[in-house]
């Protein structure tokens, strides 16, 4: 059994190097480039018009629905990972436990499918 913390210490060092690199590139981008700013250049992109409303005003709710569904399924996945790693140790009991859990989630999935939560709204 390896010491798990040593691995993650190394990953931490690597991550900090990556972060430093990212920050250096960010700083470089503001230092090395030329800067000639005027009002027109600093407005938001809007195909030549002046933007007449805030960009973040209205959002389709379907996106929120996808976010909520993700939570359910991602949690399910995270619960299945430990079973998959230890499935030869937990034997048939673990298998049946997993299958019952899986069936409940899939029941929910079928309900979502039937209720039309997964059908992307057609615009018309």
């Amino acid at each position: 059994m390896k010491d798990i913390l040593i691995d993650f210490k190394y990953i931490g060092i690597f991550s900090s190097i990556a972060i430093v690199l990212g920050v250096v590139i960010l700083i470089l981008s503001y230092v090395a480039g030329k800067h000639k700013r005027y009002n027109e250049k600093l407005t938001g992109y809007e195909c030549g018009f002046n933007p007449f409303e805030d960009g973040l005003s209205r959002v389709d709710t379907s996106f929120y629905l996808v976010g909520i569904l993700l939570l359910v399924f991602d949690l399910e996945l995270v619960f299945l990972f430990p079973w998959a790693v230890s499935s030869s140790a937990t034997k048939i009991e673990g298998l049946f436990g997993m299958l019952i859990f899986f069936a409940i989630i899939m029941l929910g999935f079928v309900y979502e499918l039937r209720a039309g939560a997964l059908t992307w709204k057609k615009e018309n």
């Binding site: 390896k2 960010l26 030329k34 399924f73």
Partner: protein, 350 residues
Amino acid sequence: MFAYFYNKIWTDIDVSFLQLIFTLTFITQILELLLLIIGVLIGVAYFTLLERKLISAIQRRLGPNVVGAYGLLQPLADGLKFLIKETITPTHAHGILFIIAPAISFILSIIMWVVLPVGYNVVLVDPDLGLLFCFCIGALAVYGIILAGWSSNSKYSFLGGLRSTAQMISYEITIGFVYLCVIVFTQSLNISEIVYIQSATIWFCIPLCFLAVIYFILILAETNRHPFDLPEAEAELVAGYNVEYSGMIFALFFLGEYSNMLSMSSMAVILFFGGWLSPFGGYVGVFTGCFWFMLKLAVMLFLFIIARAAFPRYRYDQLMSLGWKIFLPLTAGFFVLEVLVLTSLGCFSV
């Protein structure tokens, strides 16, 4: 025990020598990490050149051929040009978030590489939870995109960011199921272990060929590539979440995206095509494990580029229903099927 070593160290070995050793190992570790990062960045640069050359060949054009012989210096020239371009921060953008979003995207895509083995023992860190680590880092990559889309405060980038996020999180679930199917075989989340088990048995692309194909389609969608590049559908959203970005901070997004593409393809090679294993058994001369890994990776990347050149783009509702209604039930069903087949073969019995 401890006292014995304590005495041994402090009497037998010179203290300054010990410190020197510690410093040297630390410096070599840092150098290794830097080498990895530089390797990834050069790989990304030349992947873009390969992409441009191959697509131009498919479309019967010449492609970049002016800078250096056969355009070989083109990526470096591009990088330099990115550097000297002006970085514009629009006045109505949410300052600090606007700046750190591309950095998040870039940093996460680089961190992914630290656990990927490219040869026998050629890996920087080999944690027992390697696959889970990759899964988590891949999930975090959404933050760079949603922050960029939101903080630009522009309709195009916001819509592009939302679309991209919804697409990535939908396909992430399915990718999780694919990982699950593999680790039921290996009983381990250690990435090297997955390859060891394939060398002892068989490449997983043979029993799981169905999943290997699905995984390839999924990583096309997960990295926002053609034919699933809805976030930057040029005809409708201009450039998606990075419409307000310019200069080097745009290049950060670009590098992050391509580095993600390379790491996800490496993952596919490791999971299904035996990682660094030679298809003929032994390793002869220059055909080392790293060579075979790179060869398989190159084939995957060719497929990526050919998919871009050959297929038209999906419509957004088609894309979402493909993810939720086809791939998710398929992979979940395959997972149950695989588990039941393993049970019938006696893998989980007492």
